[in-house]
């Protein structure tokens, strides 16, 4: 397939010539008989980004991405699309800031419109103790050059008059904002990376479920799939949400539980909010899509699940969180709700690491913060797969960190995955 460069000129030309010159965005491939240098298991955002950066940054193009269903059908297609780098701890913040910088250049890099919108994110503060905690977090962000802005209640009210500033239980005292945060068209991220990787020679193989790993003498030689065995010099698993199921096929247990997270969207409304707003006293985060729907989410369902659907108590919990800060949503009808699987790790932070099996690598444990991490996750995983060493912003994401007592626990709740 020839590379088609997307531009306004190309759109105009196609409009005038009957749209006959468009080609498939990326190439659907079948497995090569003689295998690959690298196989990525999982054709989600992270897997496709990994393949793209392997080819682009490291010149490794004999790569296959194996996807059980269709690409982008997992969590990259079912999240609340928020990007931000407002973390506290040194193990996390430089990584997420690196990711945000990659988002800022993503569309130019991929020549693909991912609708990256740096509309800003605003975390509401409801008590004096929380104000102290958020100011500390803001300082952590400034250390990493992520930028932040502290807003007094008066400024918050001026900007967003619909907020319930004087709620009896959760009055809004102030806010910590990151103006560079925002939202991205999530599906376009998968398609853009797929196109970029495919153009550089990567094989994207759909409907190809990995059913096992060929491991001899502690070394991974390839994978067994529904399309037959495929040899590989190196295998990178990248299936967050299903990590437990896939890694069990290699006999590896993880410091991870799978949980379900629900997300919601209302009917289309006129523009009411131009940023992302999060509730500080409960768990609720909301933005308005370009179609007008309020896109929001909250806590996970809190019990182990592989079901991709949640239960009603959490719907009530999330909606009551929304009502506490923006009662206007009470009049909006819920259009859709859906669930996705989360790798909930023991400290709320992810893994990008080698495993006890040679040539088998693992990327997962993203809890419910994986979408914003997509570019950096792919970038750092590609670095690990190409060089067998961690990228400098991902050195903390080791699988053995609990054994060493080197947790990265942003919330400080300990080894209780459903509380992160």
């Amino acid at each position: 397939m020839s590379k088609t460069r997307y531009s306004a000129f190309k759109v105009l030309k196609e409009a005038l010539t009957g749209h006959k010159g468009w080609e498939p965005t990326w190439r659907d491939a079948e497995p090569k008989a003689d295998g690959y240098d690298v196989i990525i298991v999982g054709g989600g955002g992270h897997g496709l980004a990994t393949a793209y950066y392997l080819a682009k940054n490291h010149g490794i193009t004999n790569v296959a991405v194996l996807e059980k269903g269709w690409i982008g059908g997992g969590n990259v297609g079912r999240n609340t699309t928020i990007i931000r780098s407002n973390y506290l701890l040194p193990g996390n913040e430089p990584f997420y800031e690196f990711s945000l910088q990659l988002w800022e250049n993503l569309e130019q890099d991929l020549n693909y419109n991912a609708m990256v919108s740096q509309r800003g994110i605003m975390n509401l503060i409801h008590s004096d103790a929380q104000r102290d905690a958020f100011i500390r977090r803001g300082n952590g962000m400034l250390f990493a050059d992520a930028g932040c802005e502290y807003l007094e209640a008066k400024e918050v009210k001026e900007r967003y008059p619909f907020l319930d500033m004087n709620n009896a239980r959760f009055p809004i005292k102030a806010a910590l904002a990151q103006p560079r945060g925002g939202t991205v068209r999530h599906d376009a991220v998968a398609w853009g990376y797929a196109r970029g990787a495919s153009d550089l020679g990567v094989d994207i193989i759909q409907n190809c479920e990995v059913t096992g790993f060929n491991i001899e003498n502690g070394k991974c030689l390839g994978v067994q799939t529904t399309k037959g065995d495929i040899k590989a010099g190196r295998v990178g698993v990248c299936v967050a949400g299903s990590s437990g199921r896939v890694m069990a096929k290699a006999g590896i247990k993880l410091p991870i539980e799978s949980h379900v997270l629900q997300a919601f969207v209302t009917e289309g409304l006129k523009p009411v909010m131009d940023n992302v707003i999060t509730f500080g006293a409960g768990h609720f985060y909301c933005s308005q899509s370009d179609k007008g729907g309020l896109v929001f989410g909250g806590d996970i369902d809190a019990y182990n699940s592989y079901a991709q659907r949640g239960n009603l108590p959490v719907v009530e919990d999330v909606c009551s969180g929304g009502m506490a800060i923006m009662p206007m949503i009470g009049r909006a009808r819920l259009l859709r709700m859906w669930g996705g699987l989360m790798d909930m790790s023991m400290d709320g932070s992810p893994f990008i690491d080698s495993t006890e099996i040679d040539e088998l690598f693992f990327n997962g444990g993203w809890c419910y913060g994986g979408f914003k991490a997509t570019p950096a996750s792919g970038y750092c995983y590609a670095h690990l797969l190409a060089t067998n060493s961690s990228h400098e912003v991902a050195t903390a994401y080791k699988l053995d960190r609990f054994r060493r007592g080197a947790m990265i626990d942003e919330k400080g709740v300990g080894a209780q995955p459903n509380l992160h």
Partner: protein, 96 residues
């Protein structure tokens, strides 16, 4: 989800708090030995994370405050068995 409490009958899962796998009952007892750090690491951090029938601990916080062992399918959410955790614990040879 409805949890069929052995003493109180069917109760809404909202009344309960979830802890995790029943493996958490089996806390290592060799804490005085140096080798126990590996056992505690496995106990505290590593999970089977089963896709299928999962035995797990639920606490009836909004009810009689008993701990239950619920066998629930993590793919379908179907609950097939509910026992008192103290009975399970004793059967494992531990105290209540």
């Amino acid at each position: 989800m409805i949890i069929n409490h052995p003493l109180l009958g069917p109760r809404d899962s909202e009344e309960f708090v979830y802890l995790g796998s029943t493996d958490l009952i089996d806390r290592p007892t060799n804490w005085e030995e140096d080798a126990s750090s590996e056992d505690f690491y496995q106990y505290q951090y590593i999970r089977d994370n089963i896709a299928g029938n999962h035995r797990e601990l639920w606490y009836h916080e909004q009810g009689d405050q008993s701990w239950l062992v619920v066998t629930r399918n993590t793919i379908t959410h179907e609950i097939t068995n509910v026992e008192l955790a103290q009975d399970v614990s004793r059967a494992m040879g531990r105290g209540k």
